[in-house]
Amino acid sequence: MTNKYLFDNRIQSLTVLLDEIIQSIRNYYHPHIQEDIISCCKHALIELLTNGIKHSACENSTIEIIFSLTDIVIRKSDSGAPFLPGEIESWPLAPERTGDRILICQDDFNSVYATVKSPVSLFFDVEERPIDVIDPSSAMLDHYGFLILSKVSATFTFDYNLESKLNVFTAQIELKN
């Protein structure tokens, strides 16, 4: 089953939509869903909706929730400015870049990478470093949202649709750890 929602990319609308989607997830899996999974869905939705507010530069984003017995897929699409992280300047990428691992951002404790899956898609992952000493003068992570999305999801990906010019972010959250 798939539920589809239209988000107007306004911060005032975020909480209402968030509550509506979380309630639909609770209803679908009732009573067999753990609170940790609900938390992961909530954090992923907050970051995807906030991404729409901050970066999409268009009127609406579409949120799809795809329910299955093994996982919940949360997909956000928008037709705003193309997502161009790190060193990426335009889509599509050269085919020979498939497999390249690109550093998106880093701070004292985390590095967020995107691996090129195809000329129009990326897979995100996080590399953690030990937290021994906090340096007050060191750089801040400028994409905490990607850190959160990568951590709450079994897989977190981006696809750019060349025909429709849609940015599509997909977070797959497993029902059992």
Partner: protein, 119 residues
């Protein structure tokens, strides 16, 4: 939005909204700077009224912690709901910010920072 008051030997920054998000991030940084300027370097951010936190607010919290550390101070957080505490542990914020289940009698900083706070 953010109420500042003295409590025992530290200052409390009480978030007066249910959403700690990008709208409130700058207010937090300003409130921390103002508190430190007045000489209060130990600060606890009270999340009792907060339902959710976004990444922009988290980044502001880390930025505020670094500001406090530059002045030999520290920042902790208190009264997180279970979803927010789950997020803090997931992104390892519990390793850099002490987490209190309630406002403590005393807060003088860094003990316990590397062992995940006191929750």
């Amino acid at each position: 939005m953010i109420e500042i008051y003295k409590h025992e030997n530290y200052c409390v920054l009480k978030i007066g909204k249910s959403e700690a998000n990008l709208e409130l991030a700058d207010s937090l940084k300003n409130a921390v700077s103002a508190t430190i300027e007045k000489g209060h370097i130990f600060i606890i951010v009270d999340f009792k009224q907060v339902d959710y936190v976004d990444s922009t607010f988290l980044a502001a919290l880390v930025s505020a912690l670094k500001e406090a550390m530059k002045h030999k101070g520290d920042i902790a957080v208190a009264r997180l709901n279970k979803h927010i505490e789950h997020l803090f542990r997931l992104v390892r914020m519990d390793k850099v910010l002490m987490i209190f289940p309630d406002l403590p009698e005393s807060f003088t900083g860094s003990f316990g920072r590397n062992s995940g706070g006191q929750s």
